[in-house]
């Protein structure tokens, strides 16, 4: 089974690919990108919840750090949720400029967020949760999005 770091890093790449495909479709018409946009939002939401409801909680319980890196990551998740909602609104109002403005903003926010997680938080989590790694990954895999 993959480690926590590998599992979540691979999931980042999966979301990136859906995002790229969504933008490619949006270039042609926003309507045709709607389905892919919803898929991207769902995939990202699942990723966020895997972290917030499983990995972050395990990490916080283990380290006692509730106001540290996980709090910051949660805040950035909120920023991204907000942008994703606006992207869907831009599709529904067929506002291409707004959509691409939001998607570019989200992309950079998302990537610098992912980088911080992959460079710092995941290695830390892997280090602290190495004994429980398989269990944590399995819980994340089986998570049902709320």
């Amino acid at each position: 089974m993959s480690t926590i770091k590998e599992f979540l890093t691979n999931d980042h790449s999966r979301c990136d690919e859906i995002f790229a495909d969504m933008e490619a479709k949006a270039g042609k018409s926003l309507t045709s990108a709607r389905e892919r946009c919803v898929e991207f939002i769902d995939a990202t939401e699942k990723h966020f919840q895997m972290e917030e409801r499983v990995m972050f909680l395990e990490f916080e319980n283990k380290t006692g750090m509730t106001q540290g890196p996980t709090a910051m990551m949660r805040q950035e998740h909120s920023q991204m949720r907000n942008l994703m909602t606006q992207m869907l609104e831009a599709i529904d109002t067929d506002n291409k400029d707004k959509f691409f403005g939001l998607s570019e903003t989200l992309m950079i926010l998302l990537q610098q967020h992912n980088m911080k997680e992959e460079q710092m938080l995941y290695p830390m989590a892997q280090q602290h949760l190495s004994a429980e790694s398989d269990r944590v990954v399995s819980m994340m895999e089986s998570l049902i999005v709320e």
Binding site: G68, A71, Q75, T105, N114, K116
Partner: protein, 430 residues
């Protein structure tokens, strides 16, 4: 483990990188005017005062400022490293570097020793304080990725080129230009281009290209070995060029080979990117890889042609570095503004795309490219120089406009406080 990048409270204040970014185009404009008022014959000699002054207005004033500003902002994100006392260090280093660069440019132009002494102190303290600060922050990094290796290698070369630069500047103060001067100047410039700038750009590209454009990742051989292979090549080149100059071609070939490979890899990765968006930053990466490929190739053989061809190598490689740093600037500045405003709770703010006028950015790109090509043509048709200098100046003015625009949005938003929504910060509780 350092958690600097994981907290906005500990992240560098917005002024730390912005003051460098806002100043850089001013030195670009100054360089354009210096070229305009010079002439081809003088600029064709790399050791003429005009050439040295123009080169340093661009390398220190423009490229150096953007790179240092970017490091204060990107180190927490790319490496999880935070500069110690970032606010104070970046502020005082900035002041020293502005004074030092201005004093160097004017001191050399006017042959004024007092100004050159001020430059020696300002640049020495400014650069060394930044480099020491960056080095300290990198020592604590546990996850030593290929990008961190690139940045660290760049910093090591940075120390050497600053010390060599200070030695060269000291020669102008004492007016004692020894036989070692030319050798040191040569090493200083080659290590600055390929060691300091090259290693930094390659290291950052490993991370940034797959990230911003969803391009395929660089191969692990590339990420693990290229920086060391280039560094080794540069050290071998140093010894050969001092002791066995006739063999230095082999080391040049070695170093250039990896840069040629990097240039073609960048082009290929961009072509294979999954994200279809083609904005001005993609144009800049592509243009940079063309300039690098041509420049690295010409650098291997320049000495077999006219002596002045080294200046053409300088224009081409300079075109590579300018392209990459400007491309990065267009990504970093609007994001910085958006991120800081959003983190303060402002929701009704322009998106990144709305902060920079795309058409102005495109015109700026075209004018810069036209000016660089024009500078090369000026070798054969001197009347191209003034026209190209004008194009370069306008391009830098437009760049300044594009960097200032998002900052004005930031200032206006902070003053008018259009909305303030704390709901975003609500933490999901189980």
């Amino acid at each position: 483990m350092e958690l600097a990048g994981l907290s906005t409270d500990q992240a560098p204040p917005i002024e730390a990188p912005l003051r460098f970014f806002l100043t850089a185009p001013l030195f670009g404009i100054l360089a354009g005017f210096l070229i305009f008022f010079s002439d081809v014959a003088t600029l064709m000699s790399r050791f003429s005062v005009d050439s040295i002054v123009v080169a340093h207005a661009l390398t220190i004033g423009f490229i150096g400022f953007i790179m240092l500003g970017a490091m204060t902002q990107m180190l927490p994100v790319l490496a999880g490293a935070k500069l110690p006392k970032v606010q104070a260090v970046s502020k005082y280093a900035y002041i020293l570097l502005v004074i030092g660069t201005s004093a160097m440019l004017s001191g050399l132009s006017l042959e004024n020793s007092t100004l050159t002494i001020v430059a020696f102190i300002g640049l020495g303290l400014g650069f060394l304080s930044m480099l020491v600060s960056i080095a300290i922050s990198l020592i604590g990094v546990e996850n030593f990725t290929a990008t961190v290796k690139g940045i660290s290698t760049s910093v090591v070369f940075g120390f050497f080129i600053v010390l060599m630069g200070l030695y060269l500047l000291y020669s102008y103060i004492t007016k004692d230009i020894s036989s070692a001067h030319v050798i040191v100047a040569n090493i200083h410039s080659v290590w600055a281009i390929f060691g300091f700038c090259g290693a930094l750009i390659i290291g950052v590209a490993f991370q940034v290209l797959p990230m911003f454009y969803v391009s395929p990742k660089f191969k692990s051989f590339c990420k693990r070995r290229v920086i060391w292979l280039i560094s080794t090549g540069l050290v071998i080149w140093l010894f050969l060029s001092i002791y066995y100059e006739e063999y230095s071609l082999f080391a040049k070939f070695w170093v250039a080979l990896f840069f040629l490979a990097f240039a073609t890899t960048v082009w290929k990765k961009l072509s294979q990117r999954k994200r279809p968006i083609s904005d001005v930053t993609v144009w800049y990466w592509r243009a940079g890889s063309i300039y690098l490929a041509l420049g690295a190739f010409l650098w291997i053989f320049d000495e077999y042609f006219k002596h002045e061809y080294i200046v053409m190598v300088g224009i081409l490689i300079g075109g590579f570095i300018l392209s990459i740093v400007i491309g990065m600037l267009y990504k970093i500045v609007p994001f910085l503004i958006w991120f800081h405003l959003n983190a303060k709770g402002y929701m009704s703010i322009p998106t990144i795309n709305e902060m920079i006028n795309k058409n102005v950015a495109r015109v700026q790109f075209v004018l810069l490219m036209a000016s660089l090509i024009g500078f090369i043509f000026a070798f054969y048709m001197p009347y191209f120089l003034e026209l190209s200098a004008v194009s370069f100046i306008i391009s830098m003015v437009l760049l300044q406009y594009n960097v200032v625009s998002p900052v004005i949005i930031y200032i206006k938003t902070m003053k008018t406080k259009p909305d303030f929504d704390m709901s975003m910060f609500a933490v999901n509780k189980e």
